[in-house]
């Protein structure tokens, strides 16, 4: 080969390299546009027992595959090309976490609609009704939502619901990248961690809810602490471990090198900051903490656990920070949330130490329902175990390659698991454990692809991209598997809108199960009761015994999400909703006052009023009575 040939070849390679970002950018933009169009043209009624996956067009899978391929391709370039990576992550989040938003006509998930009702209640009254729901003892999210709604001139808080999941997951990405950058070598691993997170976060806590905002704050506090306040060389711990290790048999010496190392090769150096910047960052952490403890009850607890573990392992410099969070948490619980715990501390601390019970309520008790729903639940369990398993592999691989592990990442992954010891959280403890362990787990998984600063081989990146694509259908079933009863149609919204028009203020609205978007109007206006349905249906008189009568009217709504929920979660036959409506009408106690494609509204037929006797005026409920009523609402906080 002549010198000219070599020069020409070099120039050709350079030209190809310079064109690569442009090609990737175009591919990402086209995939995003085509994917969005294909999703918005899909039929939401095609959503079946396995959830959203049955309504997704084949071209959608092609678009997601192209986005994943482009992202992993860009990781093989010698230099970080931030615009391509940013556009790629945005495209991935929109296509994956916005899929339901694009397919469905209305915002999904009935709890999100209920939260809009909470916001409307604050807008209407200017205060929080803590006796209505336990969530009102942590009203930060709702009061903030009320200010945002009013100040922007938006007439209805439900407008925020539809795109909230996409916005929330996009907000997770910057702190995740910062955590990755503080704990992993090179620029590639944090991006791999972020990609894996987007494709593994199936828990669905990213809707319009306090926990999604609290999770952003949790990630940000961790990112700040790991970037600016992390200790790389825990001398005291090192001496302690060395002391123990010298007394151990040779075979048991391995923990010494794992833990005491200081991880000089693995972890990047701590980002320098001036004294005033550090003080500013600590003030920022305190402000975020106060907002977090007043918005969500579980997130501060998990943060405290993780920070205590980091402090014990000598990895955190301002160790009293967890004390501040603890004091803020206890302070809020004692002052503003007194109505919640007063009189029933057992429901909060009764589960302490009962790990088996927590796991049972989170896993075993939930695995029930129709055969298709059981498949979805199995998929969730296997997917969760798979992610944790691959994270373990990532840890071992990094250890094998570098003889070092990142202790902070290990703590961020394992620390949240301790919450199972404290509380079952209404059966959702396991879900939260997975969610909070996910940032650390994803960064450990990133170690499989990029455990050092060196550029990974193309074969490794191709294998990683293929593995991610192969697990994607499993992720879709885990994430959107409940969509048949968690989606809300326009008919459902119309049904409830009609109900709120005809039901007088003070009348009773009866829920027959999880599902519809009930409660999206000022929740103080009506009394809500739950009707527990069993199959076969008992006689109507037995079934409705607890409903009682309300002189202002009693209404029962039977709609599509509730019926689908009964079929999936309880294994009821497909006709159970129609049978219930027929039985109620046949009993003579109820009449259908409205019907549309989504369901029916039944009104209790007025019964002859008993002879009027003068009554003592009803005294307002005492604090104790309000606290007792909250006992029944306890499950409400788990949403």
């Amino acid at each position: 080969m002549t010198t000219t040939d070599v020069a020409a070849a070099t120039e050709s390679t350079a030209t190809r390299a310079s064109r690569a970002p442009l090609v990737a950018f175009v591919l990402l933009a086209v995939s995003l546009i085509v994917g969005v169009i294909s999703l918005s043209r899909s039929d939401e009624n095609a959503i079946g027992a396995y959830g959203l996956i049955s309504a997704l067009p084949p071209v959608y899978f092609g678009c997601v595959a192209v986005v994943i391929a482009c992202l992993f391709w860009s990781l093989h370039w010698s230099k970080q090309h931030t615009p391509v990576l940013v556009v790629g992550i945005i495209a991935l989040v929109v296509l994956v976490h916005g899929a339901a938003t694009l397919v469905e006509s209305q915002a999904r998930f009935f709890v999100a609609w209920l939260h809009a009702g909470f916001i409307e209640s604050i807008l209407a009254t200017g205060h929080v009704t803590t006796s209505f729901d336990a969530r009102f003892s942590w009203p930060g999210f709702f009061s903030g939502g009320a200010v945002l709604t009013e100040i922007t001139g938006v007439s209805d808080p439900t407008v925020w619901l539809k795109w909230a999941p996409v916005a929330v997951v996009l907000c997770y990405v910057p702190p995740l990248l910062a955590i990755g950058r503080a704990t992993l070598p090179g620029w590639r691993a944090p991006w791999v961690g972020a990609i894996v997170f987007v494709l593994a976060d199936w828990v669905g806590q990213d809707y319009f809810a306090p926990q999604s905002i609290a999770y952003i704050m949790y990630l940000t506090i961790l990112a700040i602490l790991l970037t600016y306040f992390r200790k790389r060389d825990p001398a005291r711990l090192s001496a302690l471990v060395q002391g123990i290790a010298t007394r151990l048999p040779r075979l048991l010496n391995w923990p010494k090198s794992m833990i005491e190392s200081g991880n000089r090769e693995l972890e990047p150096p701590q980002t320098p900051a001036t004294r005033s910047a550090r003080i500013g960052l600590l003030i920022v952490i305190c402000a975020i903490t106060v907002a977090m403890v007043s918005s969500h009850q579980l997130t501060p607890l998990i943060l405290i656990l993780v920070l205590v573990a980091l402090t014990i392992l000598g990895r955190l410099r301002p160790w009293p920070i967890f004390l501040f969070i603890g004091v803020a948490f206890v302070g809020w619980l004692s002052y503003a949330a007194e109505g919640f715990w007063s009189g029933h501390l057992d429901s909060i601390f009764g589960g302490f130490g009962q790990v088996g019970s927590s796991v049972n309520s989170g896993v075993a008790d939930r695995v029930q329902g129709s055969p298709e729903h059981l498949h979805v639940l199995s998929d969730r369990i296997y997917f969760t175990l798979f992610v944790w398993g691959v994270a373990g592999l990532g840890l071992l691989w990094t250890w094998w390659r570098t003889r070092r592990i990142s202790v902070p990442l290990l703590v961020v992954t394992i620390g949240p698991m301790c919450t199972i010891v404290l509380q079952s959280y209404g059966g959702e403890g396991i879900l939260r454990v997975f969610l909070f362990s996910l940032p650390g787990a994803c960064m450990l998984i990133a170690g499989l692809v990029s455990s050092t600063t060196a550029r990974p081989r193309a074969t490794i990146l191709i294998a990683a991209a293929v593995a991610v694509m192969l697990t994607f259908p499993g992720f879709l079933i885990a994430k959107w598997g409940n969509e048949d009863f968690e989606r809300v149609s326009t008919g459902d919204v119309e049904l409830y809108a009609h109900l709120f028009q005809v039901a007088p203020v003070g009348s009773t609205i009866v829920n027959i199960g999880l599902g519809g978007p009930g409660g999206f109007r000022d929740i103080n206006n009506w009394l809500y009761k739950d009707l527990t349905i069993t199959w076969p249906l008992p006689p109507v008189s037995t079934l409705t015994a607890d409903i009682g009568t309300n002189p202002l009217g009693t209404y029962i709504v039977i709609d599509r999400p509730q019926i689908a929920s009964g079929i999936a979660n309880s294994g009821f036959p497909a006709t159970w909703g129609a049978t219930l409506a027929t039985d109620l009408v046949a009993s003579g106690g109820y009449q259908i006052i409205y019907r549309n494609s989504a369901g029916v509204i039944l009104q209790q037929v007025a019964v002859p009023a008993p002879p009027v006797t003068p009554k003592q005026p009803v005294a307002p409920p005492t604090k104790k009575a309000a606290a007792a009523s909250l006992q029944s609402d306890y499950r409400g906080i788990t949403s």
């Binding site: 200010v147 945002l148 990112a223």
Partner: protein
């Protein structure tokens, strides 16, 4: 962050505050308020905090801006809620005070660090 950039961002935040409060007070139509006042309530305090502290890492700066912005919205709304003087406009005024104070602080600290040896 270079001094001119810090200077322009601080002044942009102060002007944004003035426009946001003006639009809110005059009850401007929703299509004007939503794109101006909405992002202000969610981000402005956070951006001002990032400016004062001088966070250089883009990912962390964005994370802090988002979290501090959300926190300020929550805290100001809770202040007016628990003080028994519920008014979204008062919450916005508190946020404007925070943004202007932090922006002014960043201008002062910026000029001090510039003049220091």
């Amino acid at each position: 962050m270079t001094r001119p950039r810090r200077f322009w961002i601080a002044w942009a935040l102060i002007i944004w505050s003035a426009v946001a409060i003006l639009l809110a007070v005059t009850s401007a139509p929703v299509w004007v308020r939503l794109p101006v006042v909405g992002p202000f309530t969610l981000l402005a305090v956070g951006l001002a905090a990032v400016l004062v502290i001088g966070i250089r890492q883009p990912g962390l700066a964005l994370a802090v801006a988002i979290s501090v912005g959300l926190s300020s919205l929550i805290l100001t709304s809770e202040i007016v809620l628990y003080a028994g003087t519920w008014s979204p406009l008062r919450a916005l005024i508190l946020q404007v005070v925070l943004v202007v104070s932090l922006s002014a602080a960043s201008l002062v600290t910026g000029s001090r660090s510039e003049s220091s040896p």
